[in-house]
């Protein structure tokens, strides 16, 4: 299934939006590499949901202006977008950098949200000032970034010889946009942990078991900090389990969306502490 692709204007910026399928609205926020490798996952997700996947300002064919600089700007941008689209009961999903944006949205307003899915998200800081939580990709070579990001390294390779000029332009645009938003403080908002209690929608935290960008411990910690969040680990997958294990990832999201909020959930709660807290 090919998505429909359209250009629309959000907060004064020309924005590229892809859509798949029908059903409850699922707003998907892509990771640093954009939407290039997301087709299989989003197509499968489109069997169950009305998937809406914009390119963030500066990524893909979406424009960014010089006065649009922070993940805070992205959060307000997507609050505008959901209002403009008159979306209600949204499942807000994000991978990695996209998960950070989802968190920034949720701590501001969950009025249009029903659930949230965070896939190997970044955006929060837990450890002490001298121990990084998130691997610094800017200190790594391209090959090392792929080794850290993928369980199956072959899936991460950029096939430059067969890429079109347009695809390489998008790779370059994505690189600049990510750096603008995430250079420093690196890949997180130092104030995020302070406000995570404001996330008041059922949340699924999905994690690649072999992620070397952000560890499963980090993912577990995020699940611990969000009231009632569920944590699911996907084995034989790195930082992008939805790219390496799309079927399993979609199944987890579908199961969660059906069971969220019900007492008969088959998914384990994030921690014993939360079980106790809810009892």
């Amino acid at each position: 299934m090919q998505p429909s692709i359209e250009l629309t204007t959000v907060a004064g910026l020309q924005t590229e939006v892809r859509r798949w399928g029908k059903g409850p609205p699922l707003l998907y926020l892509h990771p640093a590499d954009g939407l290039a490798k997301e087709g299989e996952f989003l197509t499968a997700l489109g069997q169950h949901f009305q998937v809406i996947a914009p390119s963030h300002p500066g990524f893909g064919n979406s424009l960014r202006q010089d006065d649009f600089k922070t993940v805070e700007d992205l959060a307000y941008f997507y609050l505008d977008f959901m209002a403009q689209e008159k979306l209600e009961g949204v499942i807000l999903a994000g991978s990695s950098f996209g998960g950070w944006i989802a968190l920034e949205i949720a701590i501001r307003s969950s009025a249009r949200l029903a659930q949230m899915v965070l896939i190997d998200t970044v955006g929060v800081r837990f450890s002490d000032r001298e121990k990084p939580d998130i691997t610094d990709v800017y200190m790594l070579s391209d090959a090392e970034i792929i080794e850290h990001s993928y369980f199956d390294v072959a899936r991460g390779k950029l096939d430059i010889a067969n890429a079109t000029d347009e695809e390489l332009l998008i790779v370059s645009r994505n690189r600049v946009a990510l750096c603008q938003y995430a250079w420093s403080p690196y890949m997180h908002n130092p104030r995020m942990k302070r406000w995570l209690h404001r996330v008041d929608v059922p949340t699924l935290v999905l994690w690649g078991g072999q992620d070397r960008i952000v560890s499963t411990d980090y993912g577990q910690r995020i699940a611990d900090e969000i009231t009632g969040a569920r944590f699911v680990r996907i084995e034989d997958a790195g930082h992008y389990p939805h790219i390496e294990k799309p079927k399993q990832t979609v199944e987890s999201i579908v199961a969660f969306s059906k069971n969220a909020g019900s007492d008969s959930s088959s998914l384990p709660l994030a921690s014993e502490k939360l079980v106790t807290a809810q009892a």
Binding site: D66, D67, Y138, M139, L140, S141, D142, L158, I160, A163, D165, L168, L169, V171, S172, R173, R175, V176, L178, C179, Q180, W183, S184
Partner: protein, 407 residues
């Protein structure tokens, strides 16, 4: 015309240049450096610079960060020492990394202080800096050019405002009350310099009435100077040789053979400067999206990245700078080396080629060139070459002549 000559060197730490290292910058642990030896190196270069004052030359100092190729992590610190130790030499920073410094007002204070210490001998050069410098500075590479210009505008206003505090709410910098003491010695402020490595990069520098410097650019420095002169004439600003500066490797000795040996030692800089891990040479936003997309295919990063720097020879062919021979680099006008007569002839040829360049930034030390050789190099230059640069005949190129006629 007169060609001023400014002594220059990188304050390298060659002992850490292990041939198997893949990066001499950013991620080379500082345990590869012995601070006692570093002190010897830094004092030695201060002595050499102080000697330039006695030889009637000027002094130019740069900075790099987190690297074994240059121990000067600040150009203003050694210049402030020299402001006290020297009496006549003009002192140029080339340059301060103002796009990477978080506080331009602190830069304005340092600049004004050196100018007062030296009683008006300071010339303030600013550079956007090599791409890999954003990493040790933790400076956002995206939008760096706009931040560079805003920092410069703010520094100029801070140096030239004398009526009490002013406020600045820019895109990058936010100050309620700026009021710099001491104010600079020179009025309205010390002369400004910028660097460009681009053949058509002179326009924005002329717009700011600053001098333009360029490093080891060889023949393409003429194109840069032409673009500067063209714009300066267009807007009615000075476009003479005194506004142009060229940094080259200069080695003088009693014989050509010894001079070329000295040049080869100094060229240790050119051979090691490009040794930097690939992830540091092209930070996001440093080149245009289009250029970056092309670079993904060719693996060649456009613009000035030393790894890929090539130079044009007299016959029009291009050679990679880092692996070139001394003779090739003499041909390419990046190196002036030989007996005093030869060096004068080479400088004269360069000066004619570019249509008159009033400032030679003489890299008279580099790599493993010893203190004794460095002193001899500068002394021979000062005795036999410098006097002949005080009143140079220029036979300008066709372009330069037509520009002069237009003026």
């Amino acid at each position: 015309m007169k060609m001023r000559v400014w002594g220059f060197c990188e304050n390298a730490y060659p002992e850490a240049w292990h041939p198997d290292l893949k990066s001499l910058r950013n991620n080379l642990p500082s345990r590869n450096m012995d601070p006692v030896k570093a002190a010897d190196i830094l004092h030695r270069h201060l002595d050499e610079w102080a000697m330039l004052d006695e030889l009637g030359m000027d002094i130019c100092i740069n900075e790099h960060h987190s690297t074994a190729t240059c121990l000067n992590a600040s150009c203003t610190l050694p210049l402030s020492i020299l402001a006290r130790e020297t009496k006549k030499a003009r002192l140029m920073s080339l340059g301060i990394h103002i796009a990477n410094r978080p506080d331009p007002i602190r830069v304005a204070e340092e600049v004004a202080l050196i100018d007062v210490y030296s009683r008006g001998r300071f010339e303030m050069g600013f550079v956007k800096a090599s791409p890999y410098e954003v990493f040790p500075a933790n400076a956002q590479p995206v939008g760096q050019q706009r931040r560079f210009f805003e920092a410069y505008d703010l520094i100029c206003k801070a140096l030239t405002s004398h009526d009490g505090p002013f406020s600045w709410e820019g895109e990058f910098f936010h100050y309620r009350d700026v009021n710099v003491w001491p104010r600079p010695y020179q009025q309205p402020m010390p002369p400004s310099w910028f660097v460009s490595m681009s053949p058509n990069g002179g326009g924005w520098i002329a717009d700011r009435n600053a001098g333009v410097g360029t490093f080891l650019s060889g023949r393409s420095s003429k194109l840069l100077f032409d673009s500067y002169r063209r714009r300066a004439i267009e807007i009615g600003r000075p476009a003479g040789p005194e506004k142009l500066a060229y940094l080259a490797i200069v080695a003088v000795a009693d014989t050509d053979e010894e001079a070329k040996r000295r040049a080869w030692e100094i060229l240790g800089y050119v051979r090691t400067s490009p040794i930097v891990a690939k992830q540091f040479v092209n930070p996001p936003g440093y080149v245009s999206v289009e250029d970056n997309a092309r670079a993904l295919r060719t693996s060649i990063i456009p613009g000035y990245v030393p790894t890929y720097a090539t130079m044009m020879l007299n016959d029009g062919t291009r050679i990679p700078q880092a692996t070139a021979t001394v003779d090739q680099l003499i041909d390419a006008m990046a190196v002036f080396a030989g007996t005093p007569d030869k060096v004068f002839e080479q400088l004269q040829a360069y000066n004619n080629y570019v249509g008159g360049c009033g400032n030679l930034l003489m890299m008279g030390q580099g790599g493993n060139l010893s203190h004794a050789d460095t002193v001899d190099n500068y002394r021979l230059f000062a005795k036999h070459v410098l006097p002949r640069l005080q009143d140079l005949e220029v036979t300008p190129s066709h372009d330069a002549m037509s520009l002069a006629a237009a003026q």
